[in-house]
Amino acid sequence: MSFETNKSIEYKPVVKTEHMVLNMGPQHPSTHGVLRLELELEGEIITRVIPHIGYLHRCFEKHAEAMTYPQVVPYTDRMDYLASMGNEFGYAVAVERLLGIQVPERVEYIRVIMAELQRIASHLVALGTYGADIGAMTPFLFCFRDREMILSLFEMTCGARLLYNYIWVGGLSHDLHPDFVRKTRDFCTYFKPKIKELNDLLTYNKIFIERTANVGVLPLDTAINFGISGPMLRGSGLKWDLRKDDPYSVYHKFDFNIPVGEGKVGTVGDCWDRYWVRVLEMEESLKIIEQALDQLPEGDVTSAIPKRIKPPIGQVYARVENPRGELGYFIMSDGNVNPFRVKVRAPSFVNLGVMDVLCRGHMVADIIAILGSVDIVLGEVDR
């Protein structure tokens, strides 16, 4: 096995020196939670990165075996806590396939709207914290200000701001609030200029470009070898999006583009490209939301919820495009009310694996930039 490393700086030690081992995290301002990175340094140049995970392990998979199918939903919320709607969506799709039930159109549309709003919210956090990691605090607060509006929309719909328990197997817990459609449209019109403002403030800033362009370049073949998905994979230039390539729900009815990294200011697959893909994806999500709001059918959102969920013996793997990549649920049923086994393919976990390859040969300060562009959520890495 040979993975290409980004040897941007070559060094040939003449004197025999010892590498400095620097421990970054689990208490560190920019490891995005409780990730611990063990760095081996040669001066300020990184020779090795070992991520240590598990500080936030909460036994999701084992827990799920003791729960009935509807009871698992609040637990899925807590994996990728920045994209709870997406997690629930994936779980619901998986169990519905296992049960072989069809849900009403309206439910699917609402789910898509929620998932796309969630994608925007999640990308806002990713972009904002990325700015904060690089040292710009103001975009961070701007992003959170806008995310707050999305959270209010969610709160209006289901009463919770982060952990929704909204998308259920076979339906939704509540129908949309009467004001929801209007407020979401307002949000869409409000938000478009804000993306431009973010670009002015951060994206095209020369210092930001210097910090992110040509840093942490992830070549496409390495990305595929590591099983990377989501904006990271698209940042490396592959047009791969499950919403288009393995359509679930009603995504085939919408018209949207899949942005990919083009190396606009540096090499294809560098940190800036990954960042840029996220910015463009927010615009695409807005498009989907507007289309979905236009086409939103009438109907009952709770009619298809089974009284008692007891799938037949069997297994299913369903995957959805979460903001961070391919979120897959493997569920095995032994015909009981509890799942026999639930396994989650968590995009953050898989994406984190490539850290070592990305970081070698870069400086300590670049770790922050690279980790930020990988955009992990520790709740999902550790589950």
Partner: protein, 202 residues
């Protein structure tokens, strides 16, 4: 050489653009809500502390079984045939004394799963979100309206009743008068009753 000067130029230009953006925001009204002084208006579906209306609870244990973290503890005692436990607001006759109805809000994840299965819609979410405590055990809320002595009484009564039945003594005596003392539950400010009733999946 050209790149050198274009670098200088783009740096200065983008910095100026950024500074323009931040400067404009100096005069944009802030979005801050000054929390303890100004309170945000919560949407009607707000999911916060649970409330149980014990007058309506029939002690069916459905909510406790739906809860994914098992933070609701319910114990019931069958009422004697002579007991008048009362009726729920939708007219069902209650058959059980609820002698224990504890919700541990330290464990509760506010997922609302317990709300939907309740047949009498007596457990619901309120908009009370300020209930922090210094000790964890003060977060265990007891909703039962009976006093501790009464609860013991009910249990004893039922045991006695069982024992008597087991001994097949036909003589029935000592009708127990149901207590009428109203014991207020622990909640100080009774929350608003208009909750997400219309969204219930029954």
């Amino acid at each position: 050489m050209r790149e050198y000067f274009s670098n200088i130029w783009t740096s200065l230009a983008t910095i100026a653009i950024g500074m323009k953006v931040t400067f404009k925001h100096m005069f944009v009204p802030a979005v801050t809500i000054q929390y303890p002084d100004v309170r945000p208006e919560l949407p009607e579906r707000e999911r916060n502390r649970l409330y149980v209306n014990m007058d309506d609870c029939i002690g069916c244990d459905q909510c406790s079984r739906a809860c994914p973290v098992s933070c609701i503890e319910i114990e019931t005692v069958k009422g004697l045939p002579t007991d008048d436990i009362g009726k729920t607001s939708n007219g069902k006759k209650k058959a059980l004394w609820v002698t224990k109805f504890n919700i541990d809000f330290a464990k509760c994840c506010y997922c609302q799963l317990c709300v939907f299965p309740c047949p009498t819609e007596c457990i619901y979410m309120t908009d009370v979100y300020e209930f922090s405590e210094f000790e964890r055990k003060s977060l265990v809320y007891d909703f039962v309206t009976l006093t501790p002595e009464e609860r013991e009484q009910k249990k004893l009564n039922y045991q006695k009743y069982e024992a008597e039945k087991a001994a097949e003594k036909a003589a029935v005596k000592k009708p127990v008068t149901p207590p009428v003392t109203e014991v207020k539950p622990k909640i100080e400010n009774p929350p608003s009753t208009e909750t997400q009733g219309e969204n219930k999946v029954s």
